[in-house]
Amino acid sequence: MIIVGELINASRKAITDSIKNRDVEAIQTVARQEHEAGAHYIDVNAGIFLDEEEDYIRWLVQTVQAVVEGPCSIDTPNPRAIEAGLSVHKGTPMINSISLESERYNNMIPFLAGTDCRIVALCMSDEGMPKTAEDRLRVAEKLVNRLVQDRIPLENIFVDPLIQPVSVDKTFGIEFLKAIALIKEKIAGVHTMCGASNISYGLPGRAFVNQTFMSMAIGMGLDGAIVNPLDKRMMGNIIAAEALAGRDNFCMNYIKAHRAGKFEF
């Protein structure tokens, strides 16, 4: 399971302030905590700053990688911010995210074609948001084909089937889950990825819904997640769900996590 730590996101109030004040220590503390909690990539997002985004992304990548020996997930569709992030990034980053929307795709791809970047491919197109599992597969197939034509290796693509809140339509959860299974089956070798929090928008007790949903998605084959790695219940759920989904030889990962106290909340 590939874990992307979601905490360094400018839409969170504490992070907005840390970024504005260029508070190196605050950002590095969060990055270190996420890394130690098991994040493989540290997501960096400065989207709300619009005009200053590229400077902040450059600064965030440098600040994070000064203390974390691992890659970032550069979270923006803005090509200038991607270029800025890539110019200073050490190792192979993840780019979060491209989509099949023509303007977004065409703007981003010049910076990504032929690179080794891991790319989150969001199932969104000019035709709007997909509703059913089949809609999502159709967008995913087109998007993956285009990315492969643009020399992105299949195994570097993480398809995000796009979560919509189940509070708005009771089918939104199940159609997403079915899409995970369908995409894994029809596009062999591609990864899948999603955040956990959109599903619970509009509901009370969101953390509980998010954790349950994550377990269900892993059961369908999800192998990447953008989460808060400091959420011990979420991380515990992921480990248990992976064992239950048959992806943990002799349940050793689960047992190790137990011994390390990861299920003590």
Binding site: I48, L50, R104, D126, G128, G202
Partner: protein, 218 residues
């Protein structure tokens, strides 16, 4: 059942999102020759107000709001034809043109606001998603809207909200419309910065906002 009891039950059916009950009660009100406009005002709309208040203070959740709107609309399928048959008209509080801005295909938030504004007594013209600024203005002109409501769900498309306002200014039309904005990454600070007339955090906020703007109509 007297009139007031019926109105109370209609309101309760809306609050509970009980569609069949709402339809049955609407039929009773028609059979009892109750003014359908009064049934809407004192029954259905009251129900929406109650659920809206509960939603605002965190006692009710989004699905309950949507369910209430469904109950409202179910009763309207009975009352609307009756209003037309009696050659009466529902007096709308104003006309809102709503759409998601260019480059953005998110529709859920906009759809919720549309539904809640509609049940809140406004005429709503929904022009869908990914709308170029000029098209939004043309549609506002054509439909003679009072308010232009712009949705953006991505930081990358927020500048398109500003663009609509700038285009309105260039065309000398800024004073003709109230422009209000909403969407996940949008906030009051952004509304102030681009000179919008208001920002709503939720669909219920949007109703209160449009009501207060229309009260001081341009």
């Amino acid at each position: 059942m007297d009139k007031d009891q019926l109105f109370e039950k209609l309101a309760a059916a809306v609050v509970d999102g009980a569609e069949e009950e709402a339809i049955a009660l609407a039929k009773t009100s028609v059979a009892d020759h109750i003014d359908p406009l009064e049934a809407i005002e004192k029954g259905l709309s009251r129900g929406m107000e109650i659920i809206g208040r509960r939603f605002e203070c965190g006692d009710a959740y989004l699905p309950e709001l949507l369910m209430a709107a469904a109950g409202f609309n179910a009763a309207m399928t009975v009352l609307k034809p009756e209003i037309e048959a009696q050659k009466k008209q529902i007096v709308k509080l104003g006309k809102v043109l709503i759409g998601t801005v260019k480059g953005d295909v998110h529709s859920i938030g906009k759809d919720i606001v549309t539904s809640v504004l509609d049940t809140g007594g406004f005429e709503v013209v929904d022009i869908g998603v990914d709308n170029p600024s000029l098209k939004i203005i043309q549609e506002a002109e054509r439909s003679q809207a009072d308010v232009i409501a712009l949705s953006s769900m991505m930081t990358t498309t927020m500048p398109a909200q500003r663009e609509v306002i700038e285009r309105l200014k260039e065309m000398g039309l800024r004073e003709k419309y109230f422009v209000i904005i909403g969407g996940g990454p949008v906030n009051q600070e952004w509304a102030d910065r681009i000179g919008a007339d208001g920002y709503g955090k939720s669909a219920i906020d949007a109703v209160a906002l449009v009501k207060s703007l229309m009260a001081g109509k341009k």
